[in-house]
């Protein structure tokens, strides 16, 4: 059976922004450049205690959910950065992505039996709360696929624009830590009392979890005159191994298959790479090996050693930070890690963007889901 094009045509990226435990994109970027680590030890079950694990929560936000959710007001600073438009109207769709949505509220209901938590507990209820908070219309699609969720939103928005169904598209993502998700990763034994050191060749792997939210505005490349410093999502690729829930194929073939269309688009470009790099060992080694083989001259960074893994929002949070890096001219290094690394391609220290003309951003998820996006100047 013939195959379809694996990557859509390029799409213009006209605005991005993010919110992490270190602040907005500019504040987070500056903090990463100075090696600041947002992760701090917290009891895994919040007020119910448990082992101490590294989490990066928004300032003054508790792990224990409130009603209405304690993350909602924090989104105002992010919302203020979104270009004003009649978002959610038929020609201005919104694509919301998340892995956990308001599941912290369901956990809070189960724990307290306060029915007020149920108003935000399901995916559609939590998104509708955000939609009403920002005054968006009803044209809001919701996608959820763990840590590649944001990439799906970008790809679907791209297809929608290229099909002529929208004038601009807003992709919005959010994921806030709760005992539900912290307890789950702790039970899987990858969230423990160790801090993550992405791509470091050490004996024990550890992840951290972090709060994250972000947005991107996409436009058709032909829509309006190109402004200076316009960026393109030049190529986007997805691949789902469906090999095992918590492991990739050991030979890296699934990740490599995802990268092939992007590698073709990146030929003759000078890349730096924002990897997934959560701090786990096998997945981190596979990532570093595969990227080193396909892109031998590209330095690799991960910022999850500072920000934690922001789960479904990570693809878009880290895209916003990559855009900030291009604006600033400096790329933060891999916080929390030091040699020896799995491969020599890992950049521990910040470096200048001057020698590069493209960024490859990758994310990986449970079930062997992989996503890759190539970011270039227009």
């Amino acid at each position: 059976m013939p195959s379809a094009p694996f990557s859509p045509p390029p799409i213009r990226l006209t605005a991005t922004g993010c919110l992490t435990a270190l602040g907005d994109a500019a504040s987070t970027h500056a903090a990463l450049l100075s090696h600041q680590r947002a992760l701090q030890l917290h009891p895994v079950l919040g007020r119910d205690g448990g082992d101490s694990v590294p989490l990066a929560l928004l300032p003054q936000r508790s792990l224990d959910e409130t009603a209405p959710p304690n993350w909602l007001a924090h989104l105002d600073t992010l919302g203020a950065q979104i270009p004003a438009a009649d978002w959610g109207s038929p020609r201005l769709p919104v694509f919301v992505t998340s892995s956990n949505f308001g599941v912290g509220s369901l956990y809070a209901f189960q724990r307290t039996r306060d029915p007020a938590h149920l108003a935000s507990g399901t995916p559609f209820a939590s998104v509708d709360r955000i939609r009403q908070h920002f005054g968006w219309g009803a044209n809001v699609s919701i996608l959820s696929h763990a840590c590649v969720s944001a990439h799906l939103g970008l790809l679907l928005a791209t297809r929608t624009l290229h099909a002529g169904l929208a004038d601009r598209a807003l992709v919005f993502t959010f994921d806030f830590v709760s005992p539900f998700v912290a307890g789950g990763f702790h039970a899987l034994k990858i969230l423990n009392n160790g801090f993550p050191a992405p791509y470091a060749a050490r004996d024990t792997g550890s992840i951290g979890l972090g709060d994250g939210a972000a947005f991107a505005v996409l436009e058709h490349p032909d829509a309006s005159p190109t402004a200076a410093n316009t960026l393109l999502l030049h190529a986007q690729s997805l691949y789902n191994e469906m090999h095992h829930f918590t492991a990739n194929r050991a030979d890296g073939s699934g990740f490599a298959t995802c990268l092939e269309p992007v590698a073709a688009a990146a030929r003759d470009r000078r890349l730096w790479i924002k990897g997934h790099g959560t701090g786990t060992l096998e997945a981190g080694r596979l990532e570093a090996d595969t990227l080193a083989q396909l892109f031998p001259d590209a330095p690799l960074v991960s910022w999850k050693g500072s920000l934690g893994h922001t789960l479904g929002s990570c693809g878009l949070v880290e895209l916003a930070l990559a855009v900030e890096s291009l604006r600033d001219g400096r790329v933060p290094g891999t916080i929390g890690s030091e040699p020896p690394f799995f491969r020599d391609n890992v950049a521990a220290e910040p470096f200048s963007t001057a020698a590069f003309d493209a960024v490859l951003l990758t994310s990986n998820a449970f079930g062997g889901a992989h996503a890759a996006t190539l970011l270039t100047p227009a």
Partner: protein, 221 residues
Amino acid sequence: MLHRHIVALRTDAPGAEDLAATRERLRDAFPRNATRRMTQLGLLLGGVLHDLAPTENDTVVYASVYGETRALEDYLTSFPTPSPTLFQTSIHPSGIQQVLIARQQPIRHFFPHTGQRHLVAHAVQSALLSPSPRTLLCGGEERGTWLLEHDAASGDTFAFALALSSDSANALGSLRLEQTTAAESALEAELRLPRFFSALAQREPLSHAVAPGLILTLSWN
């Protein structure tokens, strides 16, 4: 206008059938020993996808409002000693992953949607936007227990899968999605997943606004 032909359709609505009965009924649709830890939703999805035989070059679009409700319920009640297996199983889109991992079947483009009022509209749009020669649009729910008591779960168990193609050979029907101006499309327009399932199962035609600005037409040959 977006348009594809429906070249295959499978539906399953087992009523009050419990997990063990569903596992027994559908066991031939799975590799040996694969069903032991599967959820009822996963089993049903595997059943409706069985002879549609997903391939790597298909696009799979999956729609579920509540996803793995029973795993979610059981995971929540497993605290303060949370179960790693239930955590894993409760994460969307576990239902489809259970099926495809059991078959070791990679998929390049997989779009798991959730939502409520406009879930069908947006999942259909996602499917019809796919450039793949074949797109599998599937979805379903499993009946909840204590979450259902609080309106946070489905009251019904069902699953469906449609194979969509640009090729009209042997078509059963067609699925169209048309964008229209807001004045022609009521703001309260919606099409919920159970209603869509019912139309599929009954081969019922539909033609109405399913979201502000979107008109869906489901027709049968």
